[in-house]
Amino acid sequence: MKNTDTRAAGIPPLPDAVLELRDAAVAVGGRRLWGGVNLTVRPGEFVAVLGPNGVGKSTMIKVLLGTLPAAAGQVRVLGARPGGAGDQIGYLPQRRNFDGSLRIRGVDIVRLGLDGDRWGVPLPFASRLSPRHRAAETRVREVVELVGASSYADRPIGECSGGEQQRLLIAQALVRRPRLLLLDEPLDSLDLPNQAGVAALIHRICRHEDVAVVMVAHDVNPILSYLDRVVYIVAGGAASGPAEEVITSETLTRLYGTPVEVLKAADGRLVVVGGPEAPALHSDRHHSDHGHAHAAAAASPRGFGS
């Protein structure tokens, strides 16, 4: 497969790698979406999964979570097969909007990330008696503080803005101190200042908490300066490496198999122009943004501009 990563299959696993993909491929319903992905992520690294809409970026997250098997190649997550290290992975699914009338506090949503999969119910007043419950409450407050959500965490989440909800959901994903954070388009549908704010927050968490972050992104620009590496997926192929090596006219032209130009704006933003028609849309993905995907599909790499 087309690939720029120098790493080849057959090298022994790195002891400290959080994530290793070797020549990994994915098929949904017998159709191969992408393949030839080689990627190693170490603790504290920030990696973006990029590519045109409808190519199957979110399936990468599903493979790492173990909910979708890899069709080929090797995938190791935290030294185990995918799905085997559930506790140490924080996951933020593609944009969830909480209905304005949902009467649950942000802090309750964060708490569910900590112990929502346990049996039983928290006993009233237990937090005053048992050290374990006290520790849980302290941890929730701590992580809410970390994402800067203290001032609105006690409000019903439906009343919070999109950016506020996203910060609370990041807190939920972080509350168990995961070693790997999987984020599916966390900046989608946020306005520009909030995109910048949430991107900076994710970068800070990545560095200070030593959490490896794999983030599916539609637009690379808000996170470009923070990235250690990118994986660029197109129909059938993939390239991975540092952003400045992958998001270039040469690499993308080779990947797409048709002339593509990467332009750099004066402020450092990247704009990708040209590129082929996108493959036909696959109805089994991107349920939530049909119209959106359709509009962007006409000039697939356009997602890089904004």
Binding site: L65, T67, G86, I89, Y91, L92, P93, R96, F98, L102, R103, I104, R105, D108, I109, L112, G113, D115, G116, D117, R118, W119, G120, V121, P122, P124, R155, P156, Q172, A173, H287, S288
Partner: protein
């Protein structure tokens, strides 16, 4: 038989509880109110009130069929309500959260179909039985005063089972109700929890509708929970408020029905409705008070 209401509440209560059927009504009422408060809180949170109502309507032919065949109405309620819950769970099983508009439209159409057919069946059984109009009105609008001690024992047993299961799955149910995608990633069996909740809802509705009637189940299942959610977004506090409102509406409603010669369906529903309206009014006043500057500013601008 019908004493006058006096302002000496102690003698009123003593008198009420000295009548066995009324005492049974009070006992059953508290069980039903607690159960409906807890299960109803989750139902409102999950926006499954329409499903809850359809399950209740299915209870009507259940009870009619049971009476027609000489079985106890209770058995009919439970059989049909849990059956309807299973049908709804089966046909909405793919939806996980039931969150997309398409899935919601599909399941609400299905639920409406079940509901209409259930009512028609109920009418059939009544016709077969040959005119027991009093019971018809009880099935639809409720009657607390025919409860026997045996009924109370059944209710307590069912309520205990439902509440224990709710306590065991509580946290997972909340997770699945609010955040199915993350819950699934954390290994919570989303479909199984959703189906189990519907069965618990079926059992609860079967109990509640014996008191409020099939058409007025929401008096205890939705109104207290909805009122609680107006007051607070805290889960534990919300559940507690819902239960308290349910118990108070039931108990005061029973006394009102008895002294005032009204149907329990009307009195209990009216009290619960009053609580909800009061909650909305309190919230409106609270919001007004929270922004006094804006309000007074507007007034000054006018004058």
């Amino acid at each position: 038989m019908n004493p006058q209401f006096s302002w000496n509440l102690v003698t009123d209560v003593q008198w009420l509880w000295s009548v066995p059927s009324v005492l049974n009504a009070y006992r059953a009422g508290v069980v039903v109110a607690v159960l409906a408060g807890v299960v109803g809180w989750f139902m409102v949170l999950r926006r499954q009130t329409f499903a809850g109502h359809s399950i209740a309507v299915t209870g009507f032919p259940g009870a009619a069929a049971a009476v027609y065949t000489g079985l106890s109405a209770t058995l009919g309620y439970f059989g049909f309500c849990i059956g309807a819950a299973l049908v709804i769970a089966y046909y909405t099983r793919g939806s996980g959260s039931g969150d997309t508009a398409g899935e919601r439209a599909h399941s609400s159409a299905l639920i409406a179909v079940v509901q209409a057919f259930a009512l028609a069946l109920g009418a059939l059984f009544l016709q077969l039985y040959g005119g027991f109009l009093n019971s018809t009105s009880d099935f639809l609008f409720g009657n607390f005063l025919g409860i026997t001690s045996a009924d109370v024992v059944v209710l307590v047993a069912v309520a205990a089972v439902v509440l224990v299961v709710m306590a065991v799955i509580g946290r997972r149910l909340l997770f699945v109700s609010i955040d199915p995608a993350v819950a699934a990633a954390r290994g919570v069996p989303v479909r199984a929890v959703n189906a189990l909740f519907l069965v618990l809802l079926g059992a609860t509705v079967a109990e509640v509708s014996q008191f409020t009637g099939a058409l007025l189940v929401f008096a205890l299942l939705v109104m207290p929970a909805a009122t609680a959610q107006v007051f607070t977004a805290r889960p534990a506090l919300g559940l507690a408020i819902g239960v308290v409102i349910g118990v108070l509406s039931t108990w005061i409603g029973l006394a009102w029905a008895f002294f005032g010669n009204q149907g329990t369906g009307f009195t209990i529903t009216t009290l619960a409705f009053g609580c909800y309206v009061l909650a909305l009014a309190i919230r409106a006043v609270r919001t007004r008070l929270r922004t006094p500057a804006a309000a007074s500013g507007a007034l000054e601008g006018v004058s």
